[in-house]
């Protein structure tokens, strides 16, 4: 089948499915599996665990049913998967890439991800403007599609911390010295965080020296990348506070950990997660269809419910229980967003400075 005719068929199915799933919670369309992509293995590069399970359940099943293709998953932490993307740029083994906004910007700049045609994304008009944090170089394409908004906030154990923290400055409170877990300086959220701390201490986005000096005085007891790194210490009482992402905090709450979170008065740090198309994918049409499904109301509701993330589809009627957890609507005003492309640009040098000028002063686990 020629590329053109295959694209047309997929477009047809995309449109049909989009129409069929317009009402959230409506019965799924009962289309027979088409043969257009039968025998094709479509590979999704994503995080493992709950992320993979939710992608499989809320996007994968519908995708396989509508296209006839079989999904395969390349699972791992973002750094590993991104390094793989770079190494396999001549012959990529995956088709679409779940990543942070900063990694999407890096991937586009490095030429391992490619922009997506707007006209192939039927659900794109429903995506909230604030979610499109990574810009494409041309007007008729988008960098990728956002699928979730998460935020870096201050978490604390309400059983031991009687007064909830109100400012990032509370991290320097001697009461918490050695008793809080800090997100790793190597994490992608650190450039915005460093900028915030710099600004709070007389610096700016171009003058991070005050932020580095202030952070060097911090006394975290533990550094973490993901919540299991410090969850055990929270239970044992060795950690009572942490800087952590909302999606993880809600997972911890659902697992019975004693955890609450507070939005600092300087605002939390908002981050967007995206799905991008891998440059050189052998299935460009399927990749576009996959992205379109990701931002549909049905997928967004499912992903938000299972992953405790804020949906990005502005037309979605978010149920009240989910509204309490997510930073949708007015609550997003309590977050501050940064330019991911700028973060990607400064991250290597800022991480280097954090690792060499700040971390040696920390006696952390």
């Amino acid at each position: 089948m020629s590329k053109f005719s295959r694209r047309s068929v997929i477009k047809g199915f995309a449109a049909t499915t989009a129409l069929a799933v317009t009402g959230v919670g409506a019965a799924r369309p009962t289309l027979a599996a088409p043969s257009v992509a039968k025998g094709t293995v479509f590979t999704v590069s994503t995080w493992g665990g709950t992320s993979q399970a939710a992608v499989k359940k809320w996007i994968g099943e519908e995708f396989e049913r509508a296209t006839g293709a079989t999904l395969a998953y390349d699972i791992g932490i973002l750094g590993t998967r991104y390094s793989k993307l770079i190494a396999q740029r001549a012959n990529p083994s995956a088709d679409v890439f779940f990543c942070s906004d900063e990694a999407l910007a890096s991937g586009l700049a490095a030429g391992v991800l490619e922009p997506v045609r707007k006209k192939a994304l039927t659900n794109l008009p429903e995506v909230a403007d604030w979610a499109m944090s990574v810009k494409s170089s041309s007007a008729d394409t988008v960098a990728g599609v956002p699928y979730a908004m998460i935020a870096l906030l201050m978490a604390y154990n309400p059983e031991t911390v009687m007064t909830a923290p109100t400012s990032w400055n509370d991290l320097w409170n001697p009461e918490f010295a050695g008793k809080f877990s800090m997100i790793s300086p190597a994490h992608s959220v650190m450039p915005p965080f460093l900028q915030v701390i710099s600004e709070m201490n007389g610096g700016s986005a171009t003058n991070i020296a005050p932020g580095l000096a202030k952070l060097a005085q911090l006394r975290p007891g533990k550094l973490h990348v993901v919540y299991p790194d410090w969850a055990g210490l929270l239970k044992s009482g060795e950690v009572v506070m942490a800087t952590e992402l909302t999606s993880y905090l809600d997972v911890m709450r659902s697992q019975g950990y004693p955890i609450e979170y507070a939005v600092p008065k300087e605002k939390g740090i908002g981050l967007m997660n995206f799905v991008g198309v891998i440059k050189g994918t052998k299935n460009p049409d399927l990749a576009e269809y996959f992205l379109d499904l990701t931002i549909s109301q049905q997928s967004q509701l499912g992903l938000a419910s299972d992953l405790f993330i804020s949906p990005i589809n502005a037309k979605l009627d978010v149920p009240s229980d989910l509204q309490k957890k997510c930073f949708c609507g007015d609550r997003s005003a309590s977050l501050r967003f940064f330019d991911p492309a700028e973060s990607a640009k400064v991250r290597p040098m800022w991480t280097e400075r954090l690792m060499t000028e700040v971390v040696p002063n920390w006696k952390t686990r």
């Binding site: 770079i86 044992s236 290597p348 690792m355 060499t356 952390t364 686990r365």
Partner: protein, 281 residues
């Protein structure tokens, strides 16, 4: 003197393994070596150069990492090899099924893999863990804060490397002919004399092998320092991972990797030369 004749047919048998080593080890090494001179985000030059190496060895922070890597590997070897030697000697005296069981038990950490071993240590070492928790709660000891220290890394390294040392030394000790011990006993040698004049000299090749193996494992260990070490106590392996997985700086990762290889080769060469003088032909 007659020149030894080279058996071409036998030499050809070496060809597959030589090719394998050249292609699978040599070529990647060449690629890494070339990459280590490339410009990157930290050094956005328009030419190749030694700047990555200069930056690594010229910085107090990175020199600290280098010294820490060496210290962990050397101290690890200094603890593991004597411990392994004593255990191998004791193991020699155990016979039959007991010996087999002991060897199986000793090799379990190898079978389980380093990650499982480290997860075990992560469960044992917290202040409120099963070892220290009851002691801390009873007020007998202050919280030891071992997780995130070099002591924790060293303890896990020794545990993981010990079976390698024991098995190497056990094989070496078993190769010493029993006749020598019988002859020395007939000549009235004491146990200490037998050890100093027979066991120790003849087991030196095994000691050399186990030292090289244990040192290499210690220097190239990633999982122990990553999970049990402190955030401020990086080693060359965790530094390489950071360059590859976090800042996507492959030229700096390549330079760090080449430094690690250079250090390992230098130490192994030094140890080999020193032992070589002691080993009787």
């Amino acid at each position: 003197m007659k020149k030894p004749r080279i058996d071409i047919a036998k030499s050809l048998l070496l060809l597959p393994s030589l090719l394998l080593v050249t292609v699978l080890l040599g070529l990647p090494l060449v690629v890494i070596f070339v990459a280590s001179f490339q410009p990157n985000a930290l050094f956005p030059a328009d030419r190749v150069g030694l700047f990555n190496y200069g930056y690594l060895v010229g910085s107090q922070y990175y020199l600290g990492i280098l010294v820490r890597t060496l210290r962990l590997a050397i101290v690890g070897a200094l603890i593991t090899v004597p411990l392994g030697y004593v255990t191998a000697m004791l193991l020699q005296r155990v016979s039959g099924r007991a010996a087999n069981l002991a060897i199986m038990g000793l090799t379990f950490p190898i079978l389980a893999g380093p990650l499982v071993v480290i997860l075990g240590w992560m469960a044992l070492l917290p202040n409120r863990g099963p070892i220290f928790g009851p002691l801390v709660d009873a007020g007998w000891i202050a919280p030891p804060d071992l997780l995130g220290t070099e002591v924790a890394v060293l303890a896990s390294l020794v545990q993981f490397m010990l079976p390698f040392a024991i098995l190497t030394l056990f094989t070496s000790l078993r190769q010493i002919p029993n006749d020598l011990y019988e002859a020395s006993r007939n000549l009235g040698a004491s146990a200490l004399q037998k050890f100093l004049h027979i066991t120790l000299p003849l087991s030196l090749p095994g000691v050399l092998s186990s030292t090289i193996i244990v040192f290499s494992l210690g220097a190239s260990s990633y999982i122990s320092p990553h999970y049990l070490g402190g955030a401020a106590d990086q080693t060359l392996t965790t530094l390489i991972a950071q360059f590859v997985l976090v800042t996507y700086n492959s030229p700096m990762a390549a330079a760090s990797a080449m430094l690690l290889i250079a250090i390992m080769v230098a130490v192994i060469f030094g140890v080999g030369t020193a032992f070589g003088r002691l080993i009787r032909p």
